[in-house]
């Protein structure tokens, strides 16, 4: 049993909870390798997946996790138009409450939306990403991926590279890594860092070459230059020069170092085209990339969460 019934942010989880999630994920990863990839564990439970923001990967991952556990799942994709019309989250939730579900999975473009819905409904909620606040299941699947690749996680060094200030993935990962004794360095240009250059007391660097040969995990965030509300960052060329992972930098990585990314990778931005192609051809290079493994682990971790909250 987890200590709380909702996972809105990493702070909702105690160390014991995290261990429990990781251990349960281990048994579910085994289910995923079976010929019949389904267990009856959550039969009779209904899970509502509410995505107020477009998403395919996280949504599919939760959906398959629920189905593998035999839970009934209803999908609710809020059309952006109804939100724009001023229909509040509360109005929408009120309607869905009538369906009598056991758990909400919520993705919302605004920070704090999951907390609001949790306070309003008192229902178990899994945050599937709320604005720039948190994305705790991503962090858990990332931790699980690290766990599967290293014997001991305490003391590992991670660098998170990219748009820090707008990233909910960074927020959740930083908190979770800290809890597990992993040291995090942030790598980002000044305009994508907090105003006063302070982020939970972490070390901050402005260029990837400063960390490239020092870390055990290189975590590349998805960089959407066009999505910045004010286009302060000069250009992709500049990004490539100072922040991208390219072939020559790849060969500077420590021997056991792994490369992670929440996906999908912007080829030519976070990771160079040349290196991506090389990974497709060269098994040794591909071994360092754990991006596909992250996706698989995501299903297992989400199965673990649904199981631990609902059973």
């Amino acid at each position: 049993m987890l200590s709380g019934k909702s996972i809105i942010g990493i702070d909702d989880l105690k160390k014991e909870d995290i261990d429990l999630i990781i251990n349960s994920a281990d048994s579910f990863i085994e289910v995923l390798d079976r010929k019949v990839k389904k267990v009856p564990t959550l039969r009779g439970n209904t899970v509502a997946s509410l995505f107020f923001e477009p998403s395919t990967r996280t949504k599919n991952s939760f959906e398959i996790a629920a189905k593998r556990l035999s839970a009934d799942l209803i999908n609710f994709s809020a059309s952006s138009s109804s939100l724009k019309k001023g229909e509040s989250v509360i109005d929408t939730i009120n309607t869905i409450m009538g369906i009598k579900v056991n758990l909400f999975i919520i993705r919302h473009p605004e920070a704090g939306a999951c907390k609001l819905i949790s306070d309003f409904t008192g229902m178990p909620i899994i945050n599937a990403g709320d604005g720039a606040h948190e994305h705790p299941t991503q962090a858990l699947l990332d931790l699980y991926t690290i766990k599967r690749n290293f014997k001991k996680i305490e003391g590992l060094k991670v660098a998170i590279v990219g748009d820090i200030i707008n990233s909910r993935v960074a927020r959740s990962n930083v908190k979770l890594f800290k809890k597990m004794g992993i040291e995090t360095t942030l790598v980002s240009p000044t305009m994508l860092l907090p105003e006063n250059n302070e982020y939970m007391g972490l070390e901050i660097k402005n260029s990837i070459s400063e960390v490239i040969d020092k870390v055990d995990v290189l975590y590349m965030l998805r960089m959407q230059l066009e999505r910045q509300d004010r286009k302060m960052y000069p250009s992709i060329e500049e990004y490539n020069k100072f922040l991208s992972l390219n072939t020559s930098r790849f060969f500077c990585l420590k021997k056991g170092c792994i490369v992670m990314h929440p996906g999908p990778v912007n080829r030519g931005i976070e990771i160079s085209e040349e290196l991506m192609d090389l990974a497709d051809k060269n098994g040794e290079v591909a071994k360092k990339f754990k991006i596909k493994q992250q996706v698989t682990n995501g299903v297992a971790v989400r199965m673990a969460l649904l199981y631990l909250i609902l059973s």
């Binding site: 605004e110 920070a111 704090g112 609001l116 306070d119 927020r171 907090p194 105003e195 302070e198 509300d229």
Partner: protein, 435 residues
Amino acid sequence: MKSILGKRNLIIKEAEIVDPEKNNKYRSNIYIKDGKIEKIGKNISAPEGIAEINAEKYTAFPGFFDMHVHLRDPGQERKEDIKSGIKSALRGGITSIACMPNTKPPVDNINLVKYILGEARKYNFKVWPVAAMTKGLEGEKISEIGLLKNAGAIAFSDDGKCVQDGKLMFEIMKYAKSFGSLLILHEEDYSFSSGGLASEGYPSIELGLKAFPGLAEETMISRDISFSKKTSTKIHITHISSKNSVEMVRQAKKEGINITCDVTPHHIYFNDTYLKNYNTNFKVSPPIRSSLDQEAIIEGIMDKTIDAIASDHAPHLKEDKNTTFSRALFGAIGMETLFKATYTKLCREEGMDIAEYIKLITSNPAKILNIEGSCIKEGRVANLAIADIGFVEKFSGPLYSKSSNCPFTGEELYGEIIFTINNGDVSFVNSDLYE
């Protein structure tokens, strides 16, 4: 004892009287005759059978002056109107308010100035209308400062907005000076605040709320100090929120610039850690900042850099607040808690002298606006706030405002207003506490 409501002849017995002008406090009786303070003294011969308040437990202050209030009238009367705003003020011991012009339509013409004055007169309450500095609060054309002043506008402000155009602001200053009018400045550089929801630091990093940094206010304060220096125009910075802003005003005062400033109770009482549950009643503009900013504000009050406390009473409908943090509107109500919240923080927690403290909500705002403030003096019309300053309770929420977006609800606060005597009348009686 509710019958005391509306009385214009009464005697207040054995009250502790706090006099901000003489900077002292003493115990005495106050005899009010036909709404005027007839006599203050130990031995008063009042007519037999006159209404009496036994005030041994109470402290009498001059009626409070809240120089920054949004009455929402005309145009948004579902949030508040002049009548409900006045009732809310009276519960807070407030007997004068200055109201901001961002109504719908805005107070940028003499008819609306007259409307507000007329409505307030109906309730026998002193409301000082502040008129728009630019037409429609649009920050493009200077409003009719001369005509508006003659109609009764006490000062000029685009509160809620800030004139971004430097040259225009410079001209406004020179023009306001030519009429001797005060400018009340809401300082905000939109290039820093646009899309911003909460202070930089904790809320922006851990809660993922877009930063509304102190620089948004500081760059404009810096601009306007230099304009004021050049034009010698009197400026008042309202709801100052950051450490650096306090420091800039402190330095400007040292240099002899004609500048004053106020701060809200919520910036004194809270810091950004209160945002942790995304409670939208803490979504205000400027945002509530870090504990360092909060400390600097309190220091600024103690060393008189900050001249006044004003509520920035900003009523909003439940539906405007009961939503996500980013969709919720900015603003908190605060007239009913103006005294409670700031007395608790400044006098009870920080040990500020009560006679010094009370200037911040009585004589100082009056001085800033260049009007006669209330005082407890023989011959003057009675405007008094009588409080039980030892009374402490979890604040259960505002009672008289039409809105309920009050961040102080649930806070343990000292001081309860028992009576408010406004313009000679006993206008508010806290019947729960006074039997």
